[in-house]
């Protein structure tokens, strides 16, 4: 597998493909079962948000290693409508679709690092990292 790979999200089943790739890479990197499940769930949340709110985008993975530690970068990039108030969407329970509103704050807790950038009319970029323990 190449150290950098992306899955396009257009249909609902693309979410499953992204999840499977994420889990496969996490497994190869030596993440624990629990961390594999955390990564797969985080992928599922971000991919579903793209599918629901942005219609098109992609989930990308990158393995990276320094001398001290190994990790998996997972990013979600879309060209959707963007998010007006980032602090609002990061609150537990905030949803515009009748969901649980747990996705974005949940991903932040599932992963070790979390960064979100969004521009109205341009799209949203979410970058996360999970370190192998």
């Amino acid at each position: 597998m190449s150290p950098h790979s992306c899955v396009k999200i257009r249909k609902e089943w693309d979410i499953v493909s992204a999840r499977q790739l994420g889990r496969e890479m996490a497994k190869k990197l030596g993440f624990s079962t629990v961390d594999q499940a955390r990564i797969a769930t985080a992928v599922s949340e971000l991919a579903r948000n793209i599918y629901l709110y942005a219609e098109e985008g992609q989930i990308c993975f990158e393995v990276f290693e320094t001398i001290e530690r190994k990790g998996l970068r997972m990013g979600a990039f879309d060209t959707g409508p963007g998010i007006t108030d980032i602090s609002q969407v990061m609150q537990d329970g905030y949803t515009t679709s009748g969901g649980l509103g747990a996705g974005l704050p949940g991903v932040k807790r599932l992963m070790d690092e979390f960064d979100i950038q969004s521009e109205i009319g341009q799209g949203t970029q979410i970058k996360t990292v999970k370190w192998v323990r």
Partner: protein, 289 residues
Amino acid sequence: MNSKLIQIAIENSDTIVQMWLEKIDSLKVDKFSSSTSDELFENTNREFVNVIFTSIKQQGSLIEVVAFSEKIITLGWPLSYITDGLQMFRRVTIDFILSNSDQVDTSFFSELLTSVDRWVEPIIHQLINEYTGSWEHILSIQRIALQELSAPLIPVTDGITIMPLIGTIDTERAKLIMENLLEGAIKHNSEVVLIDITGVPVVDTMVAHHIIQAAEAVRLIGATCILVGIRPEIAQTIVNLGIDLTNLPTKSSLKKGFTSALEITNRKIVDLKPKEDGIEEMIKSLQGE
């Protein structure tokens, strides 16, 4: 011109068939497993080329083509056997007629190509149609089978029903789960419904939300829903997501869930006289003899 060419082809069918059989033999190595016997392969080839000639003789009749394609589909042979076989037939026939004609000008050449195409093309079309028809049929059967499997409900004893979920849950399946759960709980008069998620690979907010809603709906019809089979890693991710399951009774295993379902319905499992005793006694009495 076409009828003259048909006549040439038919008069020399033995030679053409021989040339074709030699060529088609090469397909056996690349496309077929060794489980296909040489005899079956050779017999089918002969039948194939006879079907082609019958169609040419009968001015494009496709009756035998249909029967033949059904046979190939049943054998499970690849579609390329048919398409490659017909391409080879085209090439062999054109080569043969060209090399046995004295005057070959461009108009003869182009008429020859047109004629042979006219013989072969309806057969290719027919065979491909039969093939895709059978694929579509298989696909639709599989789709129905999958749907039946996707949210099964098992009434285990009076008042207790189990829904074992295996595999990915998408929105369509989530709806089906809700429908089957309610319909089944009413039909079987369930007091307790156990949803077993041991086989669900990822429980994200969408799946959790649907399960919570389904459980709530079950509660509204007067039954209790218990979520069972929560693997440790799934429990962790649910906590990380911050999903509140306090209103939904949960048990780690189906066994524990079933025990509490029995309690709710005022029953319990009682061991009758253990079997081991009987066997031990028997061994003792045998040793005593």
